[in-house]
Every structure is written in C-alpha cells, then in structure tokens.
Symmetry: none
DNA sequence: TATGAATGAGACTTCATTCAT
DNA sequence: TATGAATGAAGTCTCATTCAT
C-alpha cells in the first residue's frame, strides 16, 4: 500500500521530469539518460516505470490533454440562457485557458511544437482530443441555438472547431507575447466580438 | 550558364524528392540515402547541393511557405469596396487555399506535422511566415474598416491572426476529411458567416 | 529439519521451473525473473537458493546427466554371457533411453541445443559425463570380449564412444521425429545390427 | 568491377575475422566491436557488409557447412565395387575429415559448441546440412547393397545417420585429443571395423 | 527469509556526414 | 562533378545482480 504509493509517486516524478525536459529541450533532444539524470536515478530505473521513450511521451501528452480538458470542461453549457451570459462564460473559459498556457510554458511547447510528427498514432490521439474539445464548444453553440440567442442556422460542429482553432492560436500567441496580459485581453476581446457580432459594420 | 541551369535543375529535383519523402515518411524517418535513392544519385552527391539534412528541410519549408503565399497574395485587398465583394473575395481565396491543400497532401503533413519541433530557428521562420499571412488578412480588414463595410473598432492585427487560424484549421481538417468537397463547402460557409455576421441571433 | 526440508523443496521447485523454461525458451532467452514468475516468488528470492544464472543452469545440467545416467547404469554389464543376451540388453537400454527422451522433450533440447557454448567449464562437465557414459558401454564391450562373444581385438574405449554417439544421435532424431515410435524401432534395430553384425554382406 | 572485388574481399575479411573470433571466444562473448577492432575498421562499417550479428553468424555457419561438405562430397559413391574399395574409400574420407577438423580448431568449436541454441532457424539449417551429409553416406550404403557387398536388408537412411554420428563424434574427440594423430588412427579403425565387421566374435 | 526497486554496464544498431577516388 | 565506402557518435533498451526493508 505504502509501496504502491511510492511507486505511483516515482512514476509521477518521472512524468514530471519528462514533461519539463520535453518542453525545454524537445522530444528528440531529450534522452532517457537526461530524464534519469535530473531525478538522480539510474536510467535502467526509468524502464521500470515506462516502457520506452514514446510511452512516456504518450503519458506526457495525456497530461497535456488532461490539463486542457480540465479547463474546457469547467463550465456547464446548458445553464446559459442569454447572449450576455454566454459572453461572460466565454470570457471566463478564455481567461482560464490563457492563464493555463501562460503559467505553464511547456504546455504550448509540447502541444504545438513537440507532439506533432512524433508518431502517427499519437497524432491521432491528439486529433481525437481536439475533437472532444470541439464537442464541448459545440454544446455551447447547440444550447445557444435552442435558447434562441444564437443563429439557428449555424453549422455547430464545424463552427465549434473553427472557434477552438482561434482560441488555440490565441493561447499559442499570447504565451509567446512580450506582454501576455495585454495580449490575452486583446485576444479574448477580438475572439468574442468576432464570434458574437461578426466583423461587418 | 547551361552549367548553372543543370545545377539548378538538380537542386530542384532533390528538393522535390525531399518534399515528397518528408511528406510521406516524416522528417526523422527520411534518410538522406532515401532521397538520393529515389533520384538514383549517390548520397554523397546530395551534399554538393545542400549543406545537410536541416538545410534541405528549410528549403522544403520555403517551398511550402511559397505555395501558400501564392494563394494568400493572389488578391488585391484595397480594391474591395463592399461587404459582398469582400465575401466573394474571401470565398475565392478560401477555395484556392482548400484546393491547394487537398490537391497536395504533403503540404499539410509537412506544415502541420513534420515542421514543428525540428528546430527552433525553423519554428521561428514559420512563425514569421504566419505573421506575413496575417498581415495580408489584416490588409483586408483595414481596407474594410476604411471603406466602412467592416466595424471600425475591430482589432485588425489580432483578428487577422484569429481568422487565419480558422482557415488553417479548416484546410487541415478538410484535407483529412472523407468527403473533402463537402467539408470544404461547410468550412468556407461556416467561416465566412462567422466572420461577417457572427453567431448571435 | 523441517526447515531444511522446506529449503530443499524450494530449491527443487526452482530447479524444476528452470529446467522447463531453459528447455522451452533457451538459456539466453530465459530471465531469472521468468523463473521467479512461474513460481510466483520474488526474483530476489531466487538468489537465496542459487548463486546466479549459470549456477542454476549447472544444476539443470546435473539433473540432465542424472536422468540419463539412471538409464545408462540400469543394467549390470558383467552378468551377460551370450551375444543374444547382450543384444537383448542393448535393446532394453535403448528402449529406456529413447523413451526417456521422447517423454521429456526438454532433455534433448537442453543437452543438445542449450548447454553447448554457454560456458567452457560446463562443456567440460558434459564431456566428462559423456566419458562416464562411455565407460559404461565400455564395460559391456570388455565383458563381451572376456566372455568371448565379442571380437577380442576391438578397441573398447573408442568403440564405446562411437556406439554412444550413434545412440545419442538416435535419441535426438527420434525425439524430433513425426512418428517417434516407428523411428525408435528403426533406430534400435539399425544400431544393434550395425553393432553386432556390421554392414558387410 | 575492381570496386566489386574490393567489396567482396572486405566481406570475406569480415567473415574470416568473425569465424576466428566466434571460434575463439564464442558467439555471445564476441561483439561486433571486437570483429571491427581486429580488422581495424569502424564498427559501423561492419553493418555495411552484414545486416547484424546473427546474419554474419549464419554466414559463418554456411562456411562451416561448405568446408565439411567439400570433404563429404569429395568421393563418388557409385564407383565402388567391392568391400575393400569401400573400406579404402571410407578411410580416405575419414582421413580428410579428421584432418580438416584438426587443422582448423574453430570448425569443431563453432559447429559443436557455438552454433547450437543460438537461433531455432539456424538449428534447422544445420539439421538440414546434417541430412544432406547423411544422404551422401546413404548413397554409399545403397551402392553397396546394389553391388552386393553390403547387407541387402540394412536400413540405409537411418544407418547412414548413425554412421555419420560416429564420424562426427570422432572428429570432435580427435580434435580435442592430446595426440590427435594416434586418436585419428584409432577412431578410423574402430569405426570402419565396427561398420564393416560388427562387434560380434 | 522474502522481496522487488534500483542499478548501470554493455550490446546492438543507425545514419548524417566526410573524403579519397 | 559524382560517388559511396567508411566512420563513430549517439541513443535505446535489457537484465543479472544487489541490498535495504
């Protein structure tokens, strides 16, 4: 029992170290020996906890998806009744997501730069996660259509993915910005206005 | 001069082969020997035309950027006078861009999956290209503001990047779709409506 | 004493598991962890009963030698008085040996395929065991010479080893045969006729 | 053309070095780096000529089989007309085979000690080679039956394998003997007498 | 006595790059 | 200019053995 806890802790330590190193140096530049070294363990020990380098990276990606998913799923789509409520909700989620990426710079690095192209199965996994995130956004849109504060003829699934693409580009940009706070506000405002009012005069 | 032409042709042959292989197998899975093999040249010869593996990949990325840039810059922003003209223009560019990615599957694979994370300097180069693409979109927005058919208070630079993010997510999705034609129409429609009219009822 | 018995029993359980695994998977493909796993003991426990991997393999070879030795020494050479008695004796030993190898497929696998080349000292041990088996056969030949039913000028030590070589090749072949029973009869008959009557017309 | 020759020579140099090292140190104790070191080449170079360690060992075994096969097939079975001619023939082949193994100590070491148990497919290959060697001996026996100087009722295929087993045990023993010459004569004599006249008085 | 977490030497193999021909 | 043989750094992974609990 204590034994199992220690093992679980060690697994998480390794995961944490890998998360950091993959974020800092990149997947291909990070050796198993590097991960072992920062933890001051033998690199054979690593292989007691994870099958191989791809295996730990997959777990790192799971962690990334989980972190983002926590924010994405942090609100209840169906409770929103008016456009203003939706706008407020959008802003809250946006704030949390931008804060998440700004506070943890590895997140964006891993998701947007390291993960793609490592492994086709992993690309698929990320794609499915994006689909899930899309389905959350879609629920908001569907709710809005039902409640009547969003256009009844909007293509919810595609629009949801388009909206999410803007948001992810936003977090990517904000996280790299010289003044993240200012950038965050600009992006949240630009996206919500574009979404709700459109660009037409 | 004929000499120089031959060299240039050979350079392009190598670039073409590399483009194809990087798109099919990925950067790390493609060897210099593979590239040489498809051209039936010695792999030592490769090094007479490109400095190293990263060098050729950079040139592949240049090609990718150039292909996209050709579409992005295919219209003149300032000639548009009305919202309807802008809508038509958007649709034309969208069509061309989606067609480009659908007709050449390596383009999306390289841009979205292979390029990220290879090299930080290369990531920067792509970022700058995205900035350039953003500045094109921005010109349309600025023109629309000036002509009065777009909202005067919209944040043109940020909104332009957001719009482009939707478009790139669209081409990525459409290129992977089972029915690209249908997907393309849906995405173009969803994006233009979202942009111009917004989602609010 | 009960303590000592338990220890001895555990030693034999480990030996049995090792015997089976070395026979099935081979020496190099069998891990200490594999052996411990089939016994559902910790693999550290293994080292309380055997010094190391080679040590247990040496004990496995001892077991192999013992099993064969049991058959080889199962008859009394000096009681045989006539050629017919010797022929009958030969056939009895042959039957037992062939049955032993057919009933226990690991025996041949370990003796003929796994043991050679593991360790020079172990090769020597097996060589000495073969010498001992040779000396048994030699006793029959010497007895036959003394009793006058075998040629007086035959080179007993060398001929004994030659005879044993035939027998071991026989058991190796029979154990691998599609129809072991038929093969066994053929080999026993071929060897006894070759031995006693020779091939000349 | 000279190019191809050089490559072939290098392949054979590597094969020779591997043959020697596998014979001296054993398969598992020999590294690719060892082989490269004795040839003073980079160990990456090894992999230009052989796929991997097992691959070169298979080629070593091919060489072993070829060397033995050269002796085994050095006489024409059907030309023998009398028992004395057969005896002489047997002795010639025996001499050559014993000389081969005595002059090249690696041969026996590799065949009898290193090869078994490395790889099941390789074991099969050796088994098939032994079958081929058996079929040669069988031809002598069949010829003898036809010509009437060997017993008409002998089981040629099985007896051939039994005879070969004696011969291989002989070469193995002689090659290890303190006085190989004396041992060789004893073995050749013991085997031929056993074969042709049997042991009965 | 039993355990199994930790270790790290060591082996194989790949491949970008060089350079003599 | 073209070639491809040679190189060796570098990296992944295994597993016998130890030892603290």
């Amino acid at each position: 029992m204590a034994r199992a806890d220690l093992i679980e802790r060690r697994r998480e330590e390794i995961l944490g170290a890998a998360y950091r190193l993959f974020g800092e140096k990149g997947y291909h530049e990070t050796n198993i020996a590097d991960i072992a070294a920062v933890l001051e363990i033998g690199h054979g020990t690593f292989y007691r906890y994870y099958q191989n380098k791809l295996d730990i990276f997959i777990h790192v990606i799971d962690l990334v998806i989980e972190k983002i998913g926590g924010v994405v799923a942090s609100e209840e789509p169906r409770t929103t009744e008016t456009l203003d409520e939706y706008r407020a909700q959008l802003q809250r989620i946006g704030e949390r997501l931008f804060d998440l990426f700004v506070s943890d710079r590895h997140l964006a690095q891993i998701l947007f730069y390291e993960a793609p192209g490592i492994d086709r199965a992993l690309d698929e996994k990320i794609e499915r996660a994006l689909d899930v995130f899309g389905s959350f956004t879609e629920q908001y849109l569907v709710n809005g259509k039902k409640k009547g504060f969003l256009r009844g003829d909007l293509n919810a699934p595609v629009t949801a993915l388009a909206v999410n693409a803007m948001i992810f580009e936003g977090v990517r940009r904000v996280q790299r910005a010289t003044h993240p706070k200012k950038a965050k506000d600009e992006w949240i405002r630009a996206i919500t206005r574009l979404m709700l009012e459109g660009l037409a005069a």
